[in-house]
C-alpha cells in the first residue's frame, strides 16, 4: 500500500515563499500529475517529500506516517537522469535497491529488456541517447524498494517524437504494475494523457488552483489526444494557467 497525503505544506526560501498551504492527496494505485509553470516550485514539492528539505509548515503523510524530513521513503526519478557515469546501465538501475540489501539482477535484466535496453545492459550512460537514459532512470526507480514513485519532468528534455513514445511506454509499464505515482510536468498534453487526476499549480507562491479528473478509459492509446474531449480539457487547463 502507498498513499500520499500532504496537508497545508508551506516552504520559504529566505524571504520568498515558494509553496503556500499546499494540499495534495494521491490514492493507492493512482496516477496524479502536478502541472505548473517553470519555477513554480514543483521540484521543491519533491525535495520536501523526499526529505531533502524541511517544510516551514504542514505535514507529509505516507501511509499515515509523518515523513517530514525523512529520506528514503519514496522512489524518485530526478529531473536530470542522474545516472552514475562509471557504472554500467545494469549497475545503475540496481543502485536504489543496492542501498537496502542485495539487488535482484535477474529482475533488473528483465526490466531492461522490457524497456528496450536489452542491448545496453553493460553499456555506460555516455553511450546512450537522452531517451534511453531517461528509461534507465525510470527502471531504476521501479526497481527501488519504495513503492511510491515520484517522477520529476522525466521527458521535458526530449524531442516531441521521443516524448510521445516514452509516454506510451511509461503508460504500458504503469498499467501492468499500477504503482501510486506523483508526476510533475509543465506539458499540458502529457499531463492529460497520463493521469487520473491533474492538479494545476499557480505561480509563486504555488498553490492548487484547479483539480481536474481525467476520465478517459484505460489502457489509453495516443488516439485519445485527438478527441474533442481531450482538446477541450487542454483548452480549459490552458485558460486556468493563463489566469482567465
Amino acid at each position: 500500500m502507498s498513499v500520499l497525503d500532504i496537508q497545508s505544506l508551506t516552504k520559504d526560501f529566505g524571504p520568498q515563499t515558494v509553496l503556500q498551504g499546499l494540499n495534495l492527496h494521491v490514492a493507492e494505485g493512482e496516477f496524479v500529475s502536478l502541472l505548473g509553470p517553470s519555477g513554480s516550485g514543483k521540484s521543491t514539492v519533491f525535495h520536501l517529500i523526499g526529505g531533502l528539505l524541511q517544510p516551514n509548515h504542514g505535514t507529509i503523510y505516507l501511509d499515515g506516517e509523518n515523513i517530514n524530513g525523512q529520506t528514503g521513503s519514496i522512489s524518485y526519478m530526478p529531473q536530470s537522469p542522474s545516472l552514475f557515469p562509471w557504472r554500467t546501465i545494469i549497475e545503475n538501475v540496481i543502485l536504489g535497491a543496492e542501498l537496502f540489501g542485495k539487488p535482484d539482477k535477474e529482475k533488473a535484466k528483465q526490466m531492461l529488456q522490457r524497456a528496450g535496453l536489452g542491448d545496453y545492459i553493460d553499456a555506460y550512460p555516455a553511450e546512450l541517447s537522452g531517451g534511453m537514459r531517461q528509461r534507465a532512470a525510470f527502471v531504476r526507480s521501479l526497481l527501488s524498494p519504495q513503492s511510491f514513485i515520484c517522477l520529476d519532468e522525466p521527458f521535458s528534455a526530449l524531442d516531441e517524437f521521443t516524448r510521445v513514445d516514452m509516454q506510451k511506454w511509461l503508460l504500458s509499464i504503469w498499467e501492468e504494475e499500477r504503482p501510486s505515482v506523483l508526476f510533475v510536468t509543465h506539458n499540458i498534453e502529457e499531463a492529460i494523457f497520463l493521469s487520473d487526476r491533474i492538479l494545476v499549480l499557480s505561480e509563486k507562491p504555488a498553490n492548487v488552483m484547479e483539480e481536474i479528473n481525467v476520465t478517459f478509459d484505460r489502457p489509453r492509446s495516443e488516439d485519445v489526444m485527438l478527441t474533442n474531449d481531450f482538446i477541450a480539457m487542454k483548452k480549459q487547463i490552458y485558460q486556468t494557467l493563463r489566469g482567465e
Partner: protein, 256 residues
Amino acid sequence: MKNWFHQAWRPALVMFVILVGWEFACRMFQVPSWLLPTPTEIGVEIVQGWRDYHHHVLSTVHLTLVGFVIGVSVGIMVAVMLHLLPKVHQAVYPLMILSQNIPIIVLAPLLVTWFGFDDLPKLIIITLVCFFPIAVNMIDGLKRTDQDLIHYMKMAGAQKRQIFTKLEFPYSLPSMFSGLKISATYSVMGAVISEWLGGNRGIGVYMTLASSSFRTDRVFVAIFIIMVLCMVFFGLILLAEKLLIRSQSSGKEDQS
C-alpha cells in the same frame, strides 16, 4: 602502435636535433669533457658504467616506491579525513599548504639531526612532497561531486557512508589520478634529493660523487636515469588510470 608513432615522432625529432647540435658544438669548440661531455661520451658511460651504478639505481627505485606508497596513502587519508570532517578541514587545510612552503634544503639536515642517517628522514621527505598533490586534488574532486547525484542518493535513502563509498569516492578518482601523476615525478626527485643527505647508495649519492670528482659525464648519466625513472613511473600511473577508471567520459555525464 601506428598512432603512438604518429604522436611520438615530432618530439623525438626535436630531441635528435638537439643532441646532434650538442655533439657538433662540443667537437667544434673542443669543449673539455669535464666541462660538458658530448652525448656520445654520455651514451658510452651509460652502457659501460652500468655495472658500477646499477645498484644505485635499484636502491633509488626501492626508496622511491616505498616513499611513494607511504606518501599516496597519507595523501588519500588526509583528503578523506578533511572531506568527512569539515571542522578539521578548516583547522588543518592552511597548515597543509604551509607545509609545502618549508624549503626541503633546510628541512633535510634537520631531519637527519633528529632521526639519524636511516631511511626514516628520507621517507619523510618523499612523503612530504608526495602527499600534497594527491590530497589537494582529491579534496577538490570530493567537493566537486555532482549535486544532482548527491540529491538522488539522499532521496533514495542512502546513508552518509554509502554516499561516500558509492558516489563521492569514485567521483574523485579522476582528480586523485591527476595528483598521482604529479606525485609520481615528485617522488623520484624527492628520493634523489633525500639521498644527498648521506648514506652510500642511490642515484643521489652517485651524482654527488660524480660531480665532486669532475666526472661530468656521470652527472649526465644520473640526470638521464632520473628522467627515465620519472617517465616509467608516469607511464605506470597512466596505465593504472586506464585500467581503473571506467567509462569514456569520466567526470560529469553530459546533459541529455
